[in-house]
Symmetry: C2
């Protein structure tokens, strides 16, 4: 058995039909199919059936002037999401994690993650970043084109995914967990930060750990990854050996950071009341990393 | 010694000063510093000194109406790049790899990669994707804001990095290399594709290998990564065990794919004339992956 559990927001049964996205007759046939299903969303939040499964309706439920995106196939049935306008001034994070945690089907959160990120991206990218012109949905809902014959510049735009490194510093059989300035009481997690242009994963891990905790990385090992759909990150989970346990906190980011051993991690993962710290979201890859490390990974 | 050589476009001596990017007095002091240096570019192509080092000038060489980006510090000196308008209709890839390969300083290609990706991003993202309004350079050249007091919507935009999975399928001590429909004669490489929203690295590796070669992945192991600055990819290098060697090619992408053993890979890496295939760019992570695998990784 693997030491690394499957991270949250992975394992979707969705078969992406990305090779057919430019194939308009394929899209039209999928729309016309009697088995076509529409993922129900409330804004960006998931809608669940009473049994905790994702709620799917018929395409007739979509507004007739809304573009549809073909997510792919599940059980051979075309699966769509409506690219509705969402009021992004409202908190669209609220309910997302709670909804995802309440899902009972394997991989449902991953299917929802793809849909949520796609709808969010379309909402915040209706105009061409290159020329400012309004863009048009293309490629079965997976791109926006700035069409020349509508007065645009011809640029093509694709959904964005932002890589984030998230890691445990490791020294002498202990790992470093930090409490963000926004986190309540005893809640600690792995340190994390956005990877920048011109960086490798290894570069970004070393930079972030040095900036946030003042530790010098000697070796990075990758463990696993997950998509994080608020709005669209790729979380890249690593463990990094560091030179020493002496830390210098970036107090703008972190209120505290502590070195913890495997027993302390196991107590936190088990939610024991006397644990030194607690974890917030089992769906977050920080939980996966700590579980894997406690397992000996 | 590590089995995995350092990939191209990594190892920059640049110390990113990202924690000071919102600190305008810090930026102003860096601009005013007598040690400030400007990276010379020709469009997006690198300019090299006769000895193969990066060419740095003084800030006086920048147009007075051009925004500057503070890349960070090298040898304690502030390093800038000018966010010049570049004619993106011309081929800005030509000369990039040749220039990078001619660089003689350790990590110079990585420093250049960060600058190139940043200048490219600003060129193609001058307008707000959310509302179409013109945006303004902020955060020491590392962001564009759609300013409300200039009539915009208030959105903030950050440089984009697109994760790409690139991998060798592995079975029975052989790996799969493919020849893209655009590649000349005997040139083969690892298979690759963009990671999509809602996918983990492991999901994307499995999807791409199934789509391009019809092989079913049973296990993914990450090896290493690199930035690829044309324009701004994060290349995530993996080896994936697959169920069998039976392949079904996606002929839109691949002209051919072959299973090769370690001796055949070593001959290709050594550039032997009788090698079964050859590799195009030692700076590409496909070269790193094949070297690592030949080394036993």
């Amino acid at each position: 058995m693997s030491l690394i559990p499957r991270p949250g927001f992975t394992g979707s049964p969705l078969v992406r039909t990305d090779m057919e996205r430019e194939n308009q007759p394929y899209f039209d046939a999928a729309v016309a199919s009697l088995s076509a299903r529409l993922l129900r969303l409330d804004g960006l939040k998931p809608v669940l059936e009473p049994d905790g499964s994702l709620s799917w309706g018929s395409l007739a439920e979509a507004d007739s002037d809304t573009d549809l995106a073909l997510l792919g196939l599940i059980d051979g049935k075309p699966r769509f999401v409506a690219l509705d306008r969402v009021d992004m001034r409202q908190d669209q994070r609220g309910g997302t994690l709670q909804g995802a945690m309440a899902m009972t089907e394997p991989g449902a959160a991953a299917t929802y993650a793809a849909a949520r990120s796609l709808v969010d991206w379309h909402n915040r990218h209706r105009f061409c970043a290159n020329c400012g012109h309004m863009t048009t949905v293309r490629r079965s809902g997976w791109a926006r084109f700035c069409l020349r014959d509508e007065g645009g510049c011809g640029a093509e735009h694709f959904p964005r995914t932002d890589p984030v490194v998230i890691m445990l510093a490791e020294h002498d059989d202990k790992v470093l967990v930090g409490r963000n300035v926004n986190m309540p009481g005893k809640t600690y997690s792995a340190l994390a930060g956005f990877l920048e242009v011109g960086e490798s994963i290894e570069d970004a891990v070393a930079r972030e750990l040095f900036e946030e905790a003042g530790v010098t990385v000697t070796e990075v090992r990758y463990l696993t990854s997950q998509p994080w759909p608020m709005p669209s990150q790729l979380m890249i989970g690593c463990i990094a050996k560091v030179e020493s346990e002496a830390i210098t906190l970036d107090t703008n980011e972190l209120a505290d950071a502590i070195w913890v051993d495997r027993d302390q991690v196991r107590a936190a993962l088990a939610g024991e009341p006397e644990a030194l710290f607690n974890m917030r979201y089992p769906m977050a890859i920080a939980y996966t990393l700590l579980t894997a490390w406690a397992n000996g990974a």
